[in-house]
């Protein structure tokens, strides 16, 4: 799944986005997505199936 300049793996059995914690996803966002995507961290997390906490506003998106 493409976001900005980044292609994110949505098919590999070893990458189960629904099992990721929000903290894990924030770390992934900071290292692999930040600066290369235009969508917010919540938008990307939701699209991938990560559980997005309602109270969170995101890291810096």
């Amino acid at each position: 799944m493409k976001f900005g300049k980044v292609d994110i793996n949505t098919t590999s059995p070893s990458v189960k986005w629904k099992d990721w914690t929000w903290k894990e996803f924030q770390n992934f966002y900071d290292h692999s997505l930040k600066g290369n995507v235009t969508e917010t961290i919540e938008e990307i997390g939701k699209a991938l199936g990560v559980k997005v906490p309602k109270s969170k506003k995101g890291s810096d998106a």
Binding site: V6, S14, W20, F28, S32, N36
Partner: protein, 296 residues
Amino acid sequence: MGTLKYAGNGASKDFLPDVIGMIVLNKGTTITVALAKTLAGWQALINPATSAAIVGTYINLERGFEEKTATPEFTTANTGLEEKTKDFEPKFTGYGKMSWEDYRTWFEADGKEYQFVLILKDGNLVTSFNSAGLVVGFLGRMFVSYNFPKAGGDGKQKACPFDIILSDVEQIKNYQIIRTAFQRVELEESVPVGINIEILTDYESSGGTVVLKATHRVSGLPYAGLTTYAQWQVVNTTTDAAGAATAITATNAAIGSYTLTFLNGAAKMTGDFEIQAETITASHVTYLSNVLNIPV
């Protein structure tokens, strides 16, 4: 079977054409005679739709083929009777027509068992068959040489030697020639184009990212065709149960540079792992990289 019957003499006295190449197959690989006659049959083994399905390749031996089989052992009894008491395993050395960079990718094959199908100059195949009548080549071991660049002359031509020792005299005894419907060059052109991948920036411990460079082998020109995560495979791990390219940023693909994130689920890789990159076009692997170890 090995029935001895007089079989006549042909009108032609032509020599068997030179061995000019070999197909190397994973041990246990088989192909039907009908498919072995066709280019498509070999492409299903050499450049199928995914690199994971590749079970063989072709090596051009135009730089030389030397038969090295020892002469049979003859023993003379104390009665004076002399007879053959032993045949030795057939062996040969083939000199690969390839770059040193290509040859290096074979270092891990040293001492390993493969099946070898020999290719004659006219494109026909020399092979044996298993009990089910399937083409299996000749089982044997491959040895490569770790060496320095040669100074010149035939030393250069022989810089990429493959020493092959076959395991079974019977396979050679019962070999057959399969007349193919394709040209030898077509087979060679089916082998995926070699790409080199190397590390530009080490695996980053907190985020799991690594910056890699992909170039055309030998020319060093950037290879820009590895822009999706699906093209990067984790082929082996040391401590992690699994691993995958989780994301890729290909902003600098034009200069062959890619930033990849390799994770095991949500966790960073905890031990060294090996990766390989591929490009698939029209259901065939068309570009294939070396296997690269990523130190963690």
